[in-house]
Each structure stands twice: as structure tokens, then as C-alpha cells.
């Protein structure tokens, strides 16, 4: 679906990414782990052409054969929000505080899909129901501050899904949320990925989150992917010493055997 090969990004002569290779497949969640400053977010931003001013990207990012790095800004605008969408870390800042969520949900739909006002509205209500916002009809006219953090992140996901993207980039989508709310958002992401056949790039530092939803895991360090593979392999039998040190540094590594056993009995579904 999306193939990143030898992606290099330099800002002011400094190498931020030193040759990243990743490939996302339909209906799969690809997790990207690593410490802060390892270039996880930059990889996500490079796909959307949202790199900071003065950054130079080389290599290739191919979406179904088209190289995104070579596109002109106008063509890229058609891809952004249309075929590739992004969910950011903090829903309190990624939503516009002074526009109703209905407006924020329909604006890009009308632009990208050329829908009329009423069509866009009915689709928006449908989307809000899909991300399980209670009372989607009434929610349409409300403002972001009237929702809780978890609800806002669900709305941000609905906005990202509005134009039926093929690729969804989620940059730390649950970091700003409480654990109980995080569980719901992760279930939602996993479900959407399975139902809609989205390819998801999940950027997170939390290996627990990674383990819960990702199919493939890549670990980044200093702008390079040091290890990549299926979730079970990378998290259970890491081959790179850096991955092992990340796992060993977690207090959770040896936690509550009884509890995780209970959960896997009830919810042990994998894709």
C-alpha cells in the first residue's frame, strides 16, 4: 500500500532520518516505536509532506506506485486528507476550538469529495456514529470544548476517516488520554483497521500500546530503523540489543501474570 524506501531527511545539514525503510499493508497496523528524538514523528510527517521549513527529504515514499516526494504541492494537496490522513497526539490542540465539529468534519469532505452540504452532513453523522460518539445528530453542532478528551480524539479520528483514506497515520494518538479511555480508542483503531482495510502507521513510545494493536513493529533509533518484524517476534524475542534494552527498562515487563491471563481469556483476539 505505502512503501517508504531509503527515506533521508536533513534539516540545516543535520541528518534527522538516515535511510528509513517501511512498508504498510492494507488492513494492518504498523507500529513505529522508539525514544523521543529518534525520528518517529518525522517519518510520519514526511509521508504527508508536512516537514518543517528548510527540511530536505530524499528517497522515495510510494503510495500505490506514485512517489509522493516528487509531487507538486497541488497534487500533494489532493493526497493529504484524501488518501492519507493523520491523527495527532493532542486532540485539545488539533481541533479548532471555535468551529463546530460538524464544520470541521464536513469542510474537507466537501473539498475532496465534492459533496453537497446535506450529503456531507449525513455522512458526518454516520462517521460520528461509527466512532461511537453518543447522540451523533446533536454532537454535530457542538464545539470541541463540550467533549471529553477521549471523545475529542474519537472526533479527530472521524475527521481523519471522512474522505475514506487508504492510509492513516496516528502520531501518539493515545498519549494524552487516560488509560481507561486509551483502551477504548485502541479498540476503535483496531476495529476500523479491520473493517475498512485501512493501512495504519501507529507512532508511539508505549510498547504496551504497540503490543495491543500493532501487527508489525519497527523500532527506530537515531533516525534509523534498527529492528522490524511481526509483533510477537520483536516484542518477545528481540534480536537487536536496543529493542531488548527498551523492553527491559519497562516496569511492566514482569507484571501481574494473573491479570493478563484473565484478559487474554476474554479478549484474546488478534487480526
Amino acid at each position: 500500500m505505502l512503501d517508504i524506501t531509503d527515506l533521508r531527511v536533513t534539516i540545516g545539514g543535520r541528518d534527522i532520518l538516515g535511510g528509513v525503510d517501511l512498508s504498510l499493508r492494507q488492513g494492518q497496523v504498523h507500529g513505529l516505536a522508539g525514544e523521543s528524538g529518534s525520528g518517529k514523528t518525522m517519518t510520519g510527517l514526511a509521508v504527508l509532506g508536512l516537514l518543517p521549513h528548510g527540511a530536505r527529504a530524499t528517497g522515495s515514499i510510494a503510495l500505490e506506485g506514485r512517489d509522493l516526494l516528487g509531487l507538486r504541492p497541488k497534487e500533494l494537496n489532493r493526497v493529504r486528507g484524501g488518501e492519507i490522513a493523520m491523527v495527532f497526539q493532542d486532540p485539545a490542540t488539533s481541533l479548532h476550538p471555535m468551529l463546530t465539529i460538524g464544520r470541521q468534519l464536513t469542510e474537507h469532505m466537501r473539498h475532496h469529495l465534492g459533496l453537497g452540504r446535506s450529503e456531507a452532513r449525513s455522512r458526518a453523522v454516520e462517521l460520528l456514529a461509527k466512532v461511537r460518539i453518543p447522540g451523533p445528530e446533536e454532537a454535530f453542532g457542538r464545539y470541541p470544548h463540550q467533549f471529553s478528551g477521549g471523545m475529542r480524539q474519537r472526533i479527530a479520528i472521524a475527521i481523519a476517516l471522512a474522505c475514506s483514506p487508504k492510509v492513516l497515520i496516528a502520531d501518539e494518538p493515545t498519549t494524552a488520554l487516560d488509560v481507561t479511555v486509551q483502551a477504548g480508542v485502541l479498540r476503535l483503531l483496531r476495529g476500523l483497521c479491520d473493517d475498512l482495510g485501512l493501512a495504519v502507521l501507529l507512532v508511539t513510545h508505549d510498547l504496551g500500546v504497540m503490543s495491543a494493536v500493532a501487527d508489525e513493529v519497527s523500532v527506530m533509533k537515531d533516525g534509523l530503523v534498527v529492528e522490524s518484524g511481526p509483533r510477537g517476534q520483536v516484542l518477545r524475542t528481540p534480536s537487536h540489543p536496543y529493542t531488548r534494552s527498551l523492553l527491559d527498562s519497562l516496569p511492566e515487563a514482569h507484571a501481574v501474570p494473573g491479570e493478563s491471563g484473565q484478559q487474554s481469556a476474554g479478549d484474546g483476539e488478534t487480526a
Partner: protein, 302 residues
């Protein structure tokens, strides 16, 4: 000794045209010297309001807070006598003055404690920063470094109780456990108590001696960290711990706690957790369990 005792504390937020919100609705807790107490709960449950009330930033509507046997007076414009309680705030980008050198800001703390022998640079050293940083301004530091400076400033006043109100949630993931451990070490070394508020249970588990779990203005469970972690009693504590995803590579989705935190202006009758509780019984809908250490009818004292 200087023990913090909170008994049946009620804090209300009043705003015109809105119903009174009981952010803290009868909470009791003690923090002994040299002890680290972690206060956890979902956002909006009143943890921060509790911390602010302990500092005297919110008046108590009912109940009382005593520190070393004396009541904590509300913070006003006059010079404060109670400098033994110090607080580290959530956002170090907002809690440090951007226009003053960090050394001067730390010196404020030293002055309140009447300490003339310690230099601000000594405190920077204690929080693991180079001495020469004292001459710099806050914008020259990263989030983790700023939070260290805020901790140094709080420690400068020689507190016997340090309060951290979500001190790590604005920091990068890699800096979070470092800063949390640093706070613990510094507080315990100086013999001060630490009330550490966070919604991140894995970090609280690392540093706290005791955990208090708060839900909608009430403390629903208190206990030693290992015990609470190994054998959570209250259904809410179980839900909180069960929601933490495990990095075991099995692809297990964490258990979800359905519903949102109810509106604190209109809390449910009976037990506050009953609309979301998987083990709800008839008695829970009628009568509120007001006993400890586990406020749940399943664990009522004999």
C-alpha cells in the same frame, strides 16, 4: 512530626449561573514524612483540586487539612508563613517565569527558607544539571530540564511536604520516569513527604510507597503499592489496572471501562461508581459506601 492529614475534605467550585461542583467530596488521606503517596485517577476526578487545596490555593468548604497539627490556611496576598509545603506544577513552560534567570527563581525559594549558605547552583547540581545553567533563562531548556529546575526551586524552600501535580505528564516519554525517580529520591533524602499525582499508573507504581485511587471526588481505595497492584480490591482500581496494555507481544487489547466519568455537578446516587461498575449490586444504587480503605460494598468492614 510534620504529617499531612486530610480529613473529610470537601472543595467546591462555584461559578455564576452553574450548579455548584463538588470537585472533592469528602476525601481523607495522610502523608507521613519520608513517605511517597501516589494519587491516581482519571482526568476530572478531583486529584488536582485536592492538591491545590492542600497548598491553600482553594479554600476547603468542609472538613479540614492539618499539617504538623496546624490547619493549612488559604493562600492570600500576605506573606505566607507555611512554606513547608511546596508544589511542582504540571507544565514547566508555564510555571517558570520566562523573563527571569533560573538561578534567581531558585534563589526566591532559598530566601523564603532563610537559607544564606546554599547557592542556587548547588540545587541545580542536586537535580542533575550543570552549575553554570543558573545564569540562563527558561527558554534555553527542554521540558525535562525545566521540570528539574521547577523541582530545584521547590526544594530550595526546604519543604517537609512536596506536592507534584502531574509533574511528568507534560514531558517526553523518555524523561518521565527519570524525573519521577528524581523527585522521589530528593524528597525521601531530605525527609520530606511526597504527594505525587499522576494519571500514569506505571510511573506511580515505580515510585510510590502507598497508592490512593480517586474517583469522582472520593478516594475509593488506599493501600501499599505492591498490595494494590497485586490484588486490587475496588472494581474501579481493577478496571484502571486492567486497562494498561502489556508489552507481551500477544496482541491482547486492553479491557475497556465503558462510559465516561459522570458530571461531578450531578453525581449518581449511592456509590459513585455504580453506573460503570461491572459488579453492581442493589445496595450500590441506594447507599454510598463511606468507609475505607476500600470504599466498596463488596469489601465492607464486618
Amino acid at each position: 512530626m510534620t504529617t499531612l492529614t486530610i480529613s473529610d475534605l470537601v472543595v467546591e467550585h462555584r461559578s455564576p449561573g452553574r450548579p455548584v461542583v463538588r470537585a472533592v467530596a469528602g476525601a481523607s488521606l495522610t502523608v507521613s514524612p519520608g513517605e511517597v503517596v501516589g494519587l491516581v485517577g482519571e482526568s476530572g476526578c478531583g486529584k488536582s483540586t485536592l492538591a491545590r487545596a492542600v497548598c491553600g490555593l482553594h479554600p476547603a468548604a468542609e472538613g479540614e487539612i492539618t499539617f504538623g497539627g496546624r490547619p493549612v490556611s488559604p493562600l492570600g496576598l500576605r506573606r505566607r508563613e507555611l512554606t513547608a509545603i511546596q508544589m511542582v506544577f504540571q507544565d514547566p513552560y508555564a510555571s517558570l517565569n520566562p523573563r527571569r534567570r533560573v538561578g534567581d527563581q531558585i534563589a526566591d525559594g532559598l530566601r523564603t527558607a532563610g537559607d544564606t549558605t546554599t547557592a542556587p547552583a548547588d540545587l541545580l547540581e542536586r537535580v542533575g544539571l550543570p552549575r553554570e545553567f543558573a545564569g540562563r533563562h527558561p527558554h534555553e531548556f527542554s521540558g525535562g530540564q525545566r521540570q528539574r529546575i521547577a523541582i530545584a526551586r521547590a526544594l530550595a524552600a526546604r519543604p517537609s511536604l512536596l506536592i507534584g501535580d502531574e509533574p511528568i505528564s507534560a514531558l517526553d516519554a523518555s524523561a518521565q520516569s527519570q524525573v519521577a525517580r528524581l523527585m522521589r529520591d530528593l524528597a525521601v533524602d531530605s525527609g520530606a513527604g511526597l504527594l505525587f499525582i499522576s494519571h500514569d499508573l506505571s510511573v506511580v507504581r515505580l515510585i510510590a510507597d502507598r497508592i490512593a485511587v480517586m474517583y469522582l471526588g472520593k478516594i475509593v481505595e488506599v493501600g501499599r503499592t505492591e498490595e494494590v497492584w497485586a490484588d486490587p480490591k475496588h472494581p474501579y482500581t481493577r478496571a484502571l489496572l486492567g486497562a494498561i496494555p502489556q508489552p507481551d507481544g500477544l496482541g491482547v487489547l486492553p479491557a475497556e471501562l465503558p462510559g465516561d466519568v459522570p458530571d461531578p455537578a450531578d453525581p449518581p446516587h449511592g456509590c459513585r461508581f455504580h453506573p460503570r461498575c461491572p459488579l453492581v449490586m442493589d445496595v450500590c444504587r441506594v447507599k454510598e459506601p463511606d468507609f475505607g480503605p476500600v470504599a466498596c460494598w463488596l469489601h465492607a468492614p464486618e
